[in-house]
């Protein structure tokens, strides 16, 4: 298949140049943008397959870009950030990003993540898997019984997430659980869907609460 067209959105010029250099030859870079307005215009003009999106930017960050490009079909988002704050990462996932990777990721790994997002899969870094396991820890809230399925991870999904958090690649997970790589991807996509649709209040609140307990 042809290499995906990518737009890089980040307010740091140095970082955009770095990502460009690392992805050169691995994907088709269609453009980059430094601000939310710039990003919306660039995405409309270039029509990329995947947008690499910084979580933290002035004027609303990645969440705002996703919200304003929502009407353009076929564009998928991958969040790319140095941010450690769980609530920011969860917010951009809930806005519609298909995954989250940290900026320390290597070039080939990033290209692979872009390819997976382009194919409609979800990309979870170990850190995001940890966030999600933390958010879905404990019993589901009793109030949201109609959404019980959305509020709870299945044992298998939990197992897959734990392996991701432990640093396993999808292929290695498949090998270990004796399932196909496609099934692993299906589990991760199911978790992403729950993450985006669940009404679990932990998803918006747990990070703040945890911070309170920590300090």
């Amino acid at each position: 298949m042809t290499s995906p067209r990518v737009v890089i959105v980040d307010d740091h010029q140095l970082f955009r140049a770095g990502v460009r250099a690392e992805l050169e030859g691995l994907v088709d870079i269609a453009g980059d943008a430094a601000t939310v307005d710039d990003a919306v215009a660039t995405i409309a003009a270039a029509g990329p397959d995947v947008v690499l999106l910084d979580v933290h930017m002035p004027d609303g960050g990645g969440v705002e870009v996703i919200r304003r490009v929502a009407d353009q079909p076929g564009v998928r988002f991958l969040a790319l950030s140095v941010s450690d704050a769980a609530q920011d990462v969860i917010a951009v996932i809930r806005a519609g990003a298909r995954g989250y990777v940290t900026k320390s990721i290597s070039g080939p790994e990033l290209a692979e993540a872009v390819r997976r997002v382009h194919e409609g899969d979800a990309v979870f870094s170990p850190r995001l898997a940890g966030f999600v396991l933390d958010a879905f820890a404990g019993p589901a809230p009793a109030a949201a019984e109609q959404d019980a399925e959305l509020d709870q991870l299945t044992p298998r999904e939990r197992e897959v997430l734990q392996l991701i958090a432990r640093g396993y690649m999808y292929k290695e997970i498949a090998l270990r659980l004796e399932i196909s790589a496609k099934t692993v991807e299906a589990h991760v996509s199911a978790v992403l869907r729950k993450l985006q649709l669940s009404s679990r209040h932990e998803l918006s609140r747990w990070a703040i609460e945890r911070r309170l307990i920590d300090s």
Binding site: G130, A165, R211
Partner: protein, 419 residues
């Protein structure tokens, strides 16, 4: 004058305390108790003298009020903080009530002695005395309040308390003013001149409204600019704090990195360490808060390994728990595993995953190195295995090492509560 005479009479003995209003044993303002303490008498004696003097033409009342105004309050026991609370608070209202009641008693006594007072004079006077006393107390009682309201570090709770005190002061002042105005109205009503006063009041109201319309925008702007200035001050304080922190950490490290730019390993190590510190600072997690928690200990161990080996160690954790001796041993075992992974992992990043919840501690340490065949463990790794597996079993947990040639190595540590 009576008070002066007493003072000189008592001045002959040296060991007597200075004349102060006794806040400890006071009934109204501590004048009688203070004089009694100065003269080494029972306060009751002094009080009887004052009441007698009050009955005889009201002289006692005048003297008492005079003494209240002139004699400074004592701070014998209770010090300033304990003293200021009743002074600024409940005390003011009590004093006002006391003054009003004493005055009422005096007027009624005079009336009983056939000195004629109309009601139109008695009630307004009582009200005015009460309200006036309240206002007077409030304005003289402010100093100690301001004292306690200005601590070195004004935190939110302190500010809230000061605000509460401010509200209480305002409400007491309001009560005083209301009492005085009521006194005026009662007097006017009783003398039948209220209708005439109405015109005057109307004129005053018109003037007040006109002035308010003229000056309101200006006053509003003043208030706004004051609060804006305050916000700006807080902001600049924060900025200064942030600048100080960045200077002490990030700028130092950047300078160091420029100097060592010929050694990429050391530069990477410096950058990683600075990143850790900055992240911890940004997330508001102080090292003091992390002390005594297992996650904090695990992250510290990871940072140490990273520093000594130059291999990045990523810690992902779910939950956290107390750092008891068994958990401490688990962290030590995990540290050993991280060192091992950094040494034999072929330079690949080390992933640490910790699940610390529901009374169960589960830690995984994984590298992507060449791995090894567990059945053919080389001799030099046996000792390290012992320090991981042995340490865990001694503390009631267990450890397992999974490795396949070509797929890296994973060390799994488990510790159940109550085992």
């Amino acid at each position: 004058m009576m008070r002066g005479g007493m003072a000189t009479e008592a001045g002959s003995t040296i060991a007597k305390p200075a004349l102060r209003r006794d806040q400890e044993r006071r009934v109204i303002a501590g004048v009688c108790a203070g004089i009694a303490a100065r003269l080494d008498l029972d306060p009751l004696v002094v009080r009887i003298v004052f009441v007698a003097a009050a009955a005889a033409g009201g002289a006692g009342v005048v003297l008492y009020v005079l003494g209240w105004l002139v004699i400074p309050p004592g701070d014998a026991a209770g010090a300033s903080a304990a003293d200021s609370a009743p002074r600024g608070g409940r005390g003011s209202v009590e004093v006002a009530l006391g003054v009003a009641l004493v005055l009422l008693a005096v007027l009624l006594a005079l009336r009983a002695l056939d000195v004629w007072f109309p009601d139109a004079v008695v009630w307004p006077l009582v009200l005015i005395a009460g309200g006036g006393a309240l206002l007077w107390r409030q304005s003289t009682g402010r100093a100690p309040i301001a004292d306690t309201a200005a601590p070195a570090e004004p935190d939110a709770a302190e500010e809230l308390r000061a605000l509460g005190r401010g509200a209480a002061v305002v409400s007491r002042v309001g009560l005083g003013i209301a009492l005085v105005i009521a006194a005026g109205l009662v007097f006017l009503q009783a003398t039948g001149s209220l209708s005439a006063a109405r015109d005057v009041v109307l004129a005053v109201i018109v003037v007040v409204v006109v002035l308010a319309v003229i000056f309101a925008p200006w006053i509003l702007r003043l208030v706004r600019s004051l609060s804006a200035e305050r916000a700006e001050r807080i902001r600049s304080q924060e900025r200064a704090e942030m600048a100080a922190h960045l200077h002490d950490s990030v700028l130092q490290t950047l300078t160091l990195m420029q100097k060592r730019s010929s050694d990429p390993r050391e530069v990477a190590g410096l950058a990683r360490r600075q990143e850790r510190e900055l992240r911890a600072w940004l997330s508001g997690r102080s090292t003091a808060a992390a002390a005594g928690r297992m996650l904090g200990a695990l992250e510290r161990a990871a940072a140490e390994v990273e520093e000594s080996s130059g291999v990045p160690v990523e810690v992902v954790a779910v939950g956290d728990c107390e750092l008891d001796p068994a958990a401490d041993a688990m962290v030590a075992a995990a540290r050993e595993a991280m060192l091992n992974a950094a040494k034999h992992g072929g330079g690949s990043a080390v992933d640490v995953y910790a699940e610390l919840a529901n009374g169960r501690k589960h830690v995984f340490v994984r590298d992507r190195g060449p791995g090894f065949d567990p059945d053919a463990v080389p001799g030099d790794r046996r000792g390290v295995r012992e320090s991981i597996v042995g340490r865990m079993t001694r503390n009631g947990g267990r450890a397992a090492i999974h490795s396949t040639r070509g797929q890296g190595t994973e060390v799994e540590l488990v510790l159940e509560d109550g085992s």
